[in-house]
């Protein structure tokens, strides 16, 4: 394995560089996935059948908590990668840990939010609108859940092996993934919640 020391650790081998390009292309596919979900959401937005509309069920408080928590976690994963570039694995693990805790917090609030929807009678089956709302949010939530497990795996690997070209590469891709989920949430916040509450 040839290591190019003029590059940051995560780019230092040909394999690493290909991993990162591949991951960017994967994120391109993910953008198409969410774009399809958003399009579907806009199509079903007003097709509420006998069920409630967005304005009737959205609650601003949990949504704001989720937004602040997730945006902060996007910042902390950025700090983690910065610490990685400065070759400070301990600081990096701290920031990665904080990111994971914030992610878990986000997920708990989202679960609370889903329970709330269930209690006000907005389930998957209620109408096409509630169906696509929960599918879109659920897809994002499932991505965050997957991200939590992935993050834990990376945390343990860095703890065991330190910062190597491999662990740095994984962490970097993970940070891309996490930022991506954050961007998707910004769209969800703006075009689902804010638009729905207006």
């Amino acid at each position: 394995m040839k290591i190019d020391h003029s590059q940051p650790l995560e780019y230092s081998t040909h394999k690493n560089e290909m991993n990162i390009l591949g991951f960017w292309i994967f994120l391109g596919a993910e953008i198409m996935l969410f774009a399809t979900l958003f399009t579907s959401y806009f199509i079903y937005e007003n097709r509420v059948g006998n069920g409630p509309s967005g304005a009737e069920i959205f609650e601003i408080t949990p949504v704001l908590i989720e937004t602040v928590v997730l945006l902060t976690s996007s910042f902390t994963i950025g700090l983690a990668i910065n610490a990685m570039r400065l070759n400070r694995p301990k600081a990096m693990l701290w920031f990665l840990g904080i990111t994971l805790i914030l992610g878990a917090t986000f997920l708990s609030v989202e679960i609370y939010e889903f329970v709330h929807y269930y209690h006000v009678g907005a389930t998957l089956q209620t109408s096409a609108f509630t169906g696509i709302l929960l599918t879109t949010l659920g897809t994002h939530g499932a991505h965050v859940t997957f991200g939590l497990f992935w993050g834990i795996a990376i945390f343990l690997q860095i703890k065991k092996h330190g910062l190597t070209p491999e662990t740095a590469n994984k962490s970097f891709n993970y940070s891309l993934y996490w930022h991506f989920l954050d961007v998707m949430w910004i769209f969800i916040f703006s075009f689902i919640y804010l638009k729905g509450m207006m």
């Binding site: 290909m18 596919a29 399809t36 579907s40 079903y44 097709r47 089956q125 096409a128």
Partner: protein, 649 residues
Amino acid sequence: MEFFERFAIPHPDPMIYASMVAIVLVSIAIVAGLTYFKKWGYLWDEWLTTTDHKRIGIMYLISALIMLFRGGADAVMMRVQLSSPEMEFLNAQHYNEVFTTHGVVMIFFMAMPFVIGLMNYIVPLQIGARDVAFPRLNALSFWLFFAGAMLFNISFVIGGSPDAGWTNYFPLASNEFSQSVGVNYYMWALQISGIGTLMTGINFIVTIFRMRAPGMKLMKMPLFTWSALITNVIIVFAFPVLTVALLMGTFDRQFGTSFFATGNGGMDMYWANLFWVWGHPEVYILILPAFGIYSEIISTFSERNLYGYKSMVASMVLISLLSFFVWVHHFFTMGQGALTNSIFSITTMAIAIPTGIKIFNWLLTMWKGKIRFTVPMLYSVAFIPLFTVGGVTGVMLAMASADYQYHNTMFLVAHFHNTIIPGVVYAMLAGLTYWWPKMFGFILNERIGKWAFWFNVVGFVLAFFPMYITGLDGQARRMYTYSESTGFGPLNMLSFAGAGLMAIAFILIAYNIFYSIKNSPRNVGDDPWNARSLEWATHNPVPEYNFAITPEVNSSQALWDHKKKSHTLFKGKIDKIHMPNNSGIPIIMAGILFVFGFSFVFSIWPAVIIAAIAFFSCMLYSSFENDHGRYISAEEVKETEEKFGGAKK
């Protein structure tokens, strides 16, 4: 016993029972054979766990050929049923199941793996690489495709076939109108194999962008590699749409949502939109690699460099862009209004322009060339006029107002078979024959191949051209029978005869493989066709590391330069070579997803949950696994090179 009742087939038929017996017997025979000849270890070590792009390519091709016969048998059944009026060979339900299966199998499990199989084998060789960017992911892609294909193929003996057409339009595909689990199978089989395809897309884009031989600029890639690159870009952008559509369809059928329902806020037309937003790019995913293969073959057997290389690339890029803006032409009659129809009418017709450019480029490549009519070249030459007919009828269908006459008639069926068979199927047969000596070291018998070719072409014309006429006269597609007074009888009988000839052609092709394995001479050399591109610059058959020394190139026809302009391909000396290790993880993960899909189809939730946990555990295991591959030492490489007849210059 109540638990097992769900696995019963809803519409029993003696033919299905016969198939069950056949499946069981064949499975027992395979297991017994493998055990008796002690081949389990060989199978596992050399094939099932392989990460070698060449072996994965061959496994794709074998699967595609098997599926070709499965889908072909369905086609013959349909032609028998329609051969004369009021035929009672299949009933309406069985006919629905057969045409659905035919469509899905041919598109997803025949054409797709055929295309991806050839890409797998050829693209790394054409760009001078030792493997794809992510070899293990490549194996996973194959096994996911295979799991999806198997899931789809067991549907007709366990629980019932899907019966809502390969397009699976709602509300016909909803629980109300399609009560068996068939459509659930459709959803999960396509979902699983679709994820595999998406990963292939990512893998090949990175491979082509990052692993080309020194000197091979983008505009110096062979045309087949260009077509593969563009195809994979389409895959990455189109398949996520299918993922969402299938997910929503699954939710509608199994979790009671109302996305595609007619009430409760649902919109049945939305499925058709989502399906074709993926579906139209999909047909270009199939045809662009075919164009690439024809470009290689026509240039090789005309002994001329490809006319209009740059315009070939530009037209493929243009086709790929346009392919995302034409989906509405599949349902002009759904009533979206004149303006929308007009826009999509124009975008559809626009595709004829880049395609026309390509046709002229192929013709001009042959102009004044020294043409050798080998089997691959015959298919390529037949493709040009036949595909043009398909293209012209496509422009007819693109006229929104006229489409009200053609919509859902046999005219449409004739049109798309006229593009897919001479376009994709002939390309696959041509490509398989052309690259066969690359894969196996001997040429398929040309005489039998030519017989098969003529049966194929004559059979195709007889089978599908009559449908243009019956379609214009109003014979609807997907109708299991018609009355004598319609007058469709004689032309349908002609179609049946054509289908028979095509069946003979494919049997001849299969026979040719067996015949050539036994009888073809093995000393054909490394470049039997006097070809032009890099895949022929290595040994024949190819050693596992492809090239002992990474080649250096300065045009899209590296080997031709080597032969005619004494360009040195392999500079430097032999060094140790890094190769990926085999891995059992891909096939295990695909097996788990098969169980997941099967349990989901029948709503057996505990098994679904266990399979999901097992799947993610495999991912976690892979994450912690430390696999850095292995090295083949320089001595070992030298030894192998000697065995293959000396190092290459």
